[in-house]
Subunit: 631 residues, 2 copies
């Protein structure tokens, strides 16, 4: 639909409300979806059934574009705006296009950040639905996650109370194993048709999980920014075993990461079973020494129910951009301890739906050293999909900050260094962009720089960025004004992307192989992407690497958990730092999601609230039912 562009640009929610949205059934028809492949959620949202992949399995894929960014200021550099904007630009120049982005957490929406559906004339609508509940996927992830948490706690409490004989009888009241129990028998190497067959020792191994409380890495989750839940004591007042644990925000759940990584319902079911919650105690109740083994969700007989809770969440959610091009909003894994990319399922379906001549635009969380590196080495490795182009978002503001400009703080006015022309400061900050460009080209994929242009940026500043970017290997660098002008403001960028894909060679490759050791993988990324001189492992990290290698997990790809505010692990080191070493403080495994995640510093997995949270301004207009104050 044509959008009437106003100046000055109205608030995000006013633009969103003024948009004449198409019924989602029309969007679905325009991309060739069949009626039966759609599950409507109101008039403007629909889930797409996974069956469509089977119907289109022989269709060619469209072109696959990853939008990423330079190292950002705390304000963000407009990556989502550009992702939606370049899509609207492709739509504007007449190309078939599908946008695939993450669903945001409600924590920051009501807390420090506000909505995340793009902004200005570059948005996915309806923006309230995008930012609130959507179709309930995040809540479903929370329900599955917390069910597993309750299962752990309950099992420990019951094992502490009952004899092994009682446990065996209670768990198999009809004297038969469930399918899930048979998987544990296999894991333990016990051959048994019925519980009655088991020796006393095998009965204990089978029915007494003997979870070591200090080993439990499964916390609880909630989709609210609630700092008071970071560290809590549960099991008080005689309700189970008192224990220190805590909450993360739901999007930090391993289940969210697994949902984003899975390729089918069957694959998701397997991933749920593989989730490791901790390990067993080495001394059994019968004073027999036990080897340390991972305890999985399958061992707790709860991974089937967890998958049941996710049976709708696995289906991508279709929405639309302001001019009516289709968008998938699906999964929202964290960008440090998880892959920070939207789902593989959505990308796969979108690539089939747009067909050979079409484009799928997706976004990677954080800067390119985090999000793009994982898009390439992790997400594309698992999906088997080949990216055709990288769009690298940069702002003159952020580059000046990297060049040594004054601190940029949310809520404070910008220094004039950022609002007046300053080519020297810009030049000093360009190495950050150039390193990200070099990094992208290491994956063999053409790079187009999108200069997310503010009104204060001068032509000379834009020209300087363009010149240096092209010298360093970018196919082009183009100013983008999608926030102000929507699709029209992204048309030049879209044309550059189309040409880059047509004209440049694609030699896509990973930076490391599956069969490299965990340390070799870590060191490859540290050297090639961050440009660290070396890696320092803490004793805890060393121990975990040994343990995971022994457990046969070293073939897994990495998910580097690091700050997005610097190439290094020190957020204050801006630009393109050299002469530093990368500390690995710990190493963890998300086996359900399918990766090892080394911690490069401390990661916050539960945000807090500011003194004046965003919710202070949010209310409902009780006459119209419309949301006010959300931006």
């Amino acid at each position: 639909m044509p959008i009437e562009i106003k100046h000055p640009v109205p608030s995000d929610i006013d633009i969103a409300h003024a948009a004449e949205k198409l019924p989602i059934t029309e969007i679905a028809k325009s991309v060739g979806l069949l009626d039966d492949e759609l599950e409507l959620y109101g008039k403007y949202k629909a889930k797409v059934k996974l069956d469509v992949l089977e119907r289109l399995k022989d269709a060619p894929n469209g072109k696959y574009i990853d939008v990423t960014a330079i190292t950002p200021t705390p304000l963000g550099e407009g990556k989502t705006v550009t992702t939606i904007g370049v899509s609207q630009g492709l739509h504007y120049i007449g190309e078939k296009v599908f946008t695939c982005i993450r669903q945001p957490s409600q924590g920051p929406t009501f807390g420090i950040k506000g909505g995340a559906a793009g902004g200005g004339y570059s948005q996915v609508v309806p923006m309230e639905d995008f930012n609130l509940h959507l179709t309930g996927d995040i809540h479903a992830v929370g329900a599955a996650h917390n069910l597993l948490a309750a299962a752990i706690e309950n099992r420990m409490a019951k094992e502490s109370r009952w004899s092994t004989a009682f446990l065996a009888k209670a768990l198999c009241p009809d004297g038969e194993y469930t399918d899930s129990m048979r998987k544990r028998l296999d894991k333990l190497g016990i051959e048994s048709e019925k519980p009655a067959d088991l020796s006393e020792d095998d009965k204990e191994r089978m029915f007494r999980l003997n979870i070591d409380p200090s080993s439990i890495q499964w916390r609880r989750v909630v989709d609210v920014s609630d700092a008071a839940l970071r560290d809590i004591t549960v099991g008080k007042g005689g309700n189970g075993l008192p224990r220190e644990t805590g909450y993360d925000i739901t999007v930090a759940s391993e289940i969210m990461a697994a949902l984003g990584m899975c390729s089918s319902l069957a694959d998701l079911r397997e991933r749920m079973g593989r989730i490791i919650i901790g390990t067993n105690k080495t001394g059994g109740k019968r004073q027999v020494d036990r080897p340390v083994m991972p305890i999985t969700a399958e061992d707790l007989n709860v991974s089937g129910a967890m998958t049941v809770l996710l049976k709708d969440a696995i289906k991508p959610n279709m929405m639309q951009t302001l001019p009516g091009s289709p968008a998938f909003v699906h999964t929202g894994p964290f960008a440090n301890i998880a892959q920070g990319n939207s789902s593989i399922m959505a990308d796969k379906i979108a690539l089939k739906l747009v067909g050979e001549d079409g484009y799928v635009v997706t976004e990677s969380g954080f800067g390119a050293d985090c999000g793009m590196e994982k898009f390439m080495n992790l997400k594309s490795r698992v999906s088997g999909l080949v990216p055709n182009c990288v769009v690298m978002v940069a702002t003159i503001r952020a580059l000046k900050m990297h060049g040594g400009g004054p601190k940029v703080v949310a809520g404070k006015p910008l220094d004039k260094a950022y609002t007046n022309e300053n080519l020297e400061l810009l030049e000093a900050g360009l190495p950050n962009l150039l390193q990200h460009i070099e990094n992208a080209t290491k994956f063999g994929v053409p790079v187009v720089v999108a200069i997310n242009r503010f009104t204060t940026d001068t032509d000379a500043e834009v020209a300087l960025v363009r010149e240096r970017a092209k010298e360093t290997g970018a196919y082009d660098a183009v100013a983008s004004e999608v926030w102000t002008y929507g699709g029209k403001g992204g048309a030049d960028l879209a044309r550059a992307v189309v040409k880059a894909i047509e004209e440049e060679e694609n030699n896509f490759k990973f930076l490391y192989d599956d069969d490299m050791s965990i340390k070799e993988k870590i060191e490859t990324v540290a050297r090639e992407i961050y440009r660290a001189d070396g890696v320092d492992y803490s004793p805890a990290a060393e121990a975990k690497i040994k343990q995971f290698t022994k457990m046969g997990l070293s073939h897994l790809p990495l998910c580097m958990a690091k700050t997005h505010l610097s190439f290094s692990s020190d957020a204050s080191l801006k630009g393109a730092p050299r002469g530093f070493r990368m500390p690995i403080t710990d190493v963890r495994a998300s086996v359900g999601a399918g990766f090892i995640f080394p911690l490069l510093g401390t990661m916050k997995t539960m945000p807090g609230l500011p003194t004046r949270p965003v919710y202070t301004d949010i209310d409902i207009d009780v006459e119209t039912g419309e949301v006010v104050g959300l931006s």
Copy 2:
């Protein structure tokens, strides 16, 4: 649709999967809903917009039937099965009918109980959707509830850290009040246009809520049975102020009760603002004595955002019964600390949709001393709707238990006293039913007893129940075999209900008036319904009654929080006990929901899990995507 009835009766999920469901759009059309009044959630669920009430505001209401039950055994007596069954019966004999029931919590679904969509040939379908997430309403309630919890914690942490001047500046960065802040000014009796107007003392009263941590009654919620969360410590590790609190299951949230009670979006917005989370400290930071005042969600400036999170949850969810009659599944408030009845919104819409000649069948949780009493004195008082008939569900099994039969325990085989004819035991247990009948007639509404008949019940046993019930004032008592035969098995019951409404006078009245004191209301219910000799108040209860009366809350109706397993507060006293006193251990106020709830004993608001939770059997068939093992 005609359903093929099989014998023996297959599992609930097999019956549900075999049913040929109508698209929900057809069900909607059959009750005269317009396309624009419907928001589809897949093919078989839809939300109905509240606009329909405005369109039909002059249409006459249908007949309003409350299904309730005698004091149950721990197995339950088939109240939901009968609610759906009498609806299917009315449909079978050609009447227009709408069923309104609660959405179940996922905690018991995966924990101790399994599904709650009815059973046998009396079900609401699709049963998986009914039992899992539905359209996300319970999750929305949880999100709103936990946002308020985070707001409390955050405000206390920030107030402990910052000066009043800083708080004022942070909360009003542009020097203006929000609408929500103006409500607090009104409450405090402060006249001020801008924060700059305020005296130092008023600034402190306005911006420093000074919450007394020991007064906080707002806990957190999750829709999982997780006993380890009943008592927890939050705010550890420097994240806020360490504090003892805990979790309830989401359906026990006051927000769920308010959602069930509200009559419009505007009303819900007001109710969210009125929620009391605790009181202030009496000593201010400036050493000034402060009066104790309730702290509300409005004071925390978060009730607008909470309502935004509930903007879709307020709309009733339409589904269908097995033969295709319409059903609303909406809200699921607890039956002890809350009203235990489905939403007023759903009943109101359904009564308009069926019209003058039609019937709306709804269900009250627990036995009639709990659920029906609240349906009459609380829900109907707030809604202004007039019930036309009470259906009192009884089983021969439960009556024998009340007569002194052996203990009935879930999972254990029934004693032969229950499976062989035993008129003496039955006669001894009948007073329980008869007291419930007498109680129902005190509200001036005709009563039909539904004998939920098992195959082992003899004709003589059924005849005895019928005779005594009619003697005591029931219009009729009819055997119901809806579990085995669906609508056909409920046809006689349906005919009796139609005749009772046609032939009996309706003199509906409440048992107490708004302007009676809190104690008078408590004592009226204790005397008239429970038949207690008197009421004993704990010192805590006495103090709360004084406090609430002083706060101007004594006009609120009551929500008695008592066990459903006896008329008394002692679950082991079966039958129709006499010569007992009713202890009131505490009294609490749910001002957002709009009631005072006296505690008659200790209530569990977070269920636990058994040694073998129901989830052990639940899995997904990865080929068909169907849920298995849910019953």
